[in-house]
């Protein structure tokens, strides 16, 4: 077999949805053993294209050639037959089943009328060893980490004989270490002769991994890069967004004022009686951003719940501008000057079936401004919403649009607009750019720094080290419900940070 053999060729693929052309005569070519990145912002049409290749959509125009033969991919089963596998962003696994059961699901080896579990386990073990994907076939999905679950998804495609594997935003749900491991796995697959397509909007991964890149913007291919020596992050970002992008967040030296938030010895007991917060102590002053680094699940969410009053704390105090807010209700805390950009904007930040204008007053609707005597003043609501939408450039077809219809970036803009409109003294931002594309990330970062410059205290929790270093004035590290130390936010030292994040650093503060 020739290494330069083309395994997938898409010619002039066009897919229209009501009111939008998702793919506009796209050409795409994947060579054998290649790792080809499909790069583009959210909504650019990457996923649509791959869903066409995987048989989930039918193109309106264009041709699909697999291994040199023109084909119609009528459904996922046809795609699998052709040796195409897809690892979806949201895993499709049966939680109470074991790893092996999930992998063989639908193609179980049979022994008489029953499933031959021994053979299934052995086969899974074989494949996992062949490709260096270590998993225990006999554990249940619900007991393994997200990273492991993803390996199971990859094994599923390999078990079905996939030679072409599509990864849809594979790193979105992974931790830093898991991402490293995944990149290794993908490289390994390519080395074994598998051809890989990876859908992503993360430039770092593209640079680290890809042999070729196709950049899509608004349904059209804007560039195909075959030689990665020609590519730089800046250049790709520019192609993706359609204008120059600066990765540097413009930021002056901070000028901290009085202490706004003072957390002392905050403890919280978890469900099993274990302390999920174990004596958190820190302060944030007006006009500074405190970043909190740490591996997910070390009490970050609980810290936020504790400060905002959504869960009971069991010891310690939270003081805002000198007033004790430890045991107030969430509304009282919010009213005393706390804004909150929650981690999960769909679950906590918005009511998706409410209009934009209804969402804009979610935390302030009880205010007299929005109507007296228990009635809502729609004029006032709409006026506020219109102002915020304009100021924060929330793009939608109008303020009566349901929040559900907005893109992730615009939803996040709406939340930030709402929270800043409350004019809080303390702004809590948890993973404020999760799942956003470059343009939106740039916007969010700019707004956060602006808020800080206006003298707000900002508590930033993020799992993206780049983001923490770009924004924070100070970075504290959290491990098992307490702070294990503080690092210099101006001189990046990942090694030291890594030690603190795993609890092996020296204890300070």
């Amino acid at each position: 077999m020739n290494q330069n053999e083309t395994v997938v060729q898409l010619k002039g693929i066009t897919k229209r949805f009501p009111g939008l052309v998702a793919n506009d005569s796209i050409d795409f070519e994947l060579k054998k053993g290649q790792i080809h990145a499909l790069l583009g912002e959210n909504g650019a049409g990457k996923s649509t294209l791959m869903n066409i290749l995987f048989g989930l959509y039918q193109p309106d125009e264009g041709e699909i050639w697999i291994n040199g033969k023109q084909t119609v991919i009528s459904g996922a089963s046809k795609a699998i037959e052709l040796g195409i596998g897809m690892v979806h962003q949201h895993f499709k696994l049966v939680q109470p089943f074991t790893v092996a059961e999930n992998i063989v699901l639908g193609e179980e080896p049979q022994k008489g009328l029953t499933i031959d579990y021994k053979l299934a386990n052995r086969k899974v073990k074989e494949i996992s060893e062949q490709y260096g994907l270590k998993v225990d076939p006999q554990v249940r999905i619900q007991d393994i980490t997200v990273g492991m679950q993803q390996r199971v998804e990859i094994l599923k495609t390999l078990y079905r004989g996939a030679d072409i594997v599509i990864f849809d935003e594979p790193t979105a749900v992974l931790t830093v270490q898991e991402i490293e491991e995944l990149l290794e796995i993908i490289r390994g697959l390519a080395a074994e002769g598998k051809s890989i397509i990876i859908i992503t909007h993360k430039l770092k991964e593209v640079m680290a991994l890809a042999d070729a890149v196709t950049v899509i913007r608004r349904g059209k291919v804007v560039a195909t890069v075959d030689d990665m020596a020609d590519a730089t992050e800046e250049k790709l970002a520019g192609l993706m967004v359609g204008r120059d992008v600066s990765f540097k967040v413009e930021k002056q030296q901070s000028n901290p004022g009085d202490v706004v938030l003072d957390v002392r010895d905050l403890t919280m007991n978890g469900d099993q009686g274990k302390k999920v917060l174990n004596g958190m102590t820190f302060q944030i002053r007006a006009g500074e951003i405190l970043g909190i680094a740490g591996v997910d699940g070390n009490g970050q969410s609980e810290l936020i719940y504790g400060i905002t009053g959504m869960r009971k704390t069991h010891g310690g105090t939270v003081t805002l501008n000198g007033n004790d807010i430890t045991h107030l209700t969430p509304r009282e805390i919010s009213k005393s000057g706390v804004g909150h950009i929650p981690e999960d904007r769909h679950k906590h930040g918005l009511v998706l079936d409410f209009s934009l204008s209804e969402n804009m007053i979610l935390g302030t609707y009880f205010d007299e401004r929005y109507g007296r005597h228990g009635f809502l003043d729609f004029k006032m609501m709409d006026k506020t919403a219109q102002e915020l939408v304009t100021e924060f450039d929330v793009r939608s077809s109008g303020i009566s649009t349901h929040a559900r219809a907005l893109s992730g970036g615009n939803q996040q803009k709406a939340i930030i607009a709402r929270e800043l409109h409350k004019n809080p003294d303390l702004l809590i931002a948890v993973q404020p750019t999760r799942g956003l594309d470059i343009g939106a990330i740039e916007f969010v970062h700019k707004r956060l720094v602006e808020a800080r410059n206006q003298g707000k205290a900002i508590l930033l929790i993020s799992f993206e080290l780049d983001e923490l270093y770009a924004l924070s004035d100070r970075i504290a590290v959290m491990f098992e419900g307490r702070l294990t130390g503080e690092v210099d936010a101006h001189e990046r030292d990942d090694a030291k940070l890594g030690l603190l994040m795993t609890g092996s650093g020296k204890r300070e503060g």
């Binding site: 905002t308 959504m310 209700t329 969430p330 509304r331 009282e332 805390i333 919010s334 009213k335 909150h340 929650p342 679950k347 906590h348 930040g349 918005l350 009511v351 998706l352 079936d353 409410f354 209804e358 979610l362 935390g363 609707y365 009880f366 929005y370 109507g371 228990g374 009635f375 809502l376």
Partner: protein, 360 residues
């Protein structure tokens, strides 16, 4: 005018309409299979409903409780709660009204209103209990409200037999004249059909339902909790209290339905052998009406009309009136499985777009 256009343009209206047609079709097939003439049957059904002023009045009488129970189900649903207990709350409403109506003797301007309020309160508290159990103890409202249906049934029967029984009969003593809610001149006008103020209260409740949910801050809270309790909590709303409130209001609607059955229609309460069924029909009405106030009103008109007209069907065409339950059941089925309706509509839509393409 724009408003009306908007409402009728929506596909949300198309699905129920097609479902009704399909439901009637299924009913017709069932009749054909049984050797009956569906056209004659449906003809006599409509004749019964519109045939005379008495029957028209009685149809309205049959529709009224369905408006109340439909609103009750829809209201809870808007807050994300499935109130299966409307039946029990309806019965509690009946019982509250009967208690006041029979035991007290007050001037009319006090007696009627007090009986109505008590019945509404009984219904509200009965549902509020479900809300409380859910909010404070995490008990699923479907389970507790179903169980409370039976509790309500036997509690009502106990109260009637123990305190209110008309000697020698399986029903309560009659409610005092001063508490009755019938509209005498309208009764005369409609040829002795049992017309009562409850119908107007029901229509007022349709309006209250709308204003409360979409015009007030309370309603904003209720809807926010219904759509996304997590976000409501983040916004500082007291989700548990909202759940109790919503159930209470839902129960008040249901209770009012029961109240007017006693004060407006029967004048006494029988010892019930089984549930009255209005609560369960309310679920269907709410579903058909898409949980909107106007939708509930239209749904109640349809269901009430069909049920009442079904007697005419057996009278005029010899078709057992249970056939109408098949029609109603199929309509619910098609509304619930609207995918099927859309599937049936698809070829029609395609043809239309083909034509417009050709035109272009």
């Amino acid at each position: 005018m724009e408003m009306i256009k908007k409402i009728f343009n929506k596909s949300s209206l198309l699905v129920p309409l097609v479902s009704i047609l399909l439901g009637l079709l299924v009913g017709a097939l069932a009749m054909l299979a049984g050797g009956y003439d569906p056209l004659l049957a449906y003809g006599s059904l409509f004749k019964r409903v519109f045939g005379s002023s008495y029957h028209m009045g009685e149809t309205i009488r049959a529709i009224t409780p369905l408006i109340f129970t439909g609103l009750a189900v829809a209201f809870a649903f808007r807050t994300g709660l499935f109130n299966i207990g409307v039946e029990g709350q309806f019965i509690m409403g009946m019982t509250g009204a009967t208690l006041i109506g029979v035991l007290l003797d007050l001037p009319w301007y006090l007696h009627g209103p007090l009986a109505i309020l008590t019945g509404a309160l009984f219904g509200g508290l009965w549902a509020g209990l479900v809300g409380y159990l859910k909010a404070k103890r995490g008990v699923n409202e479907v389970i507790s409200s179903i169980m409370l249906n039976w509790t309500a049934l036997y509690l009502a029967n106990y109260i009637v037999t123990k305190f209110l029984l008309e000697p020698g009969q399986q029903k309560s003593r009659n409610v005092h004249e001063s508490a009755l809610m019938s509209i005498d001149w309208l009764v005369q006008l409609m040829d002795k059909a049992r017309m009562h103020w409850g119908t107007f209260v029901a229509l007022a409740c349709v309006l209250v339902f709308y204003i409360l949910l979409w015009r007030t801050k309370q309603g904003y809270e209720l809807r926010a909790v219904g759509h996304n309790p997590d976000a409501a909590l983040y916004a500082g709303m007291n989700v548990n209290r909202t759940i109790v409130k919503s159930m209470f209001i839902s129960g008040v609607f249901a209770g009012l339905g029961g109240v007017f059955e006693i004060l407006g229609v029967f004048g006494n309460q029988t010892v019930l052998a089984a549930s009255v069924g209005y609560g369960f029909d309310g679920i269907a009405v709410a579903l058909l009406g898409g949980n909107t106030p106007i939708g509930v009103l239209l749904g109640a008109v349809l269901f009430g009309g069909l049920s009442y007209g079904s007697n005419g069907m057996s009278f005029g065409a010899g078709v057992p009136s249970e056939i109408v339950r098949i029609v109603i059941g199929s309509v619910i089925f098609f509304v619930a499985a609207h995918g099927i309706v859309k599937f049936i509509l698809k070829p029609l839509k395609l043809k239309r777009s083909d034509k417009s393409k050709e035109a272009a």
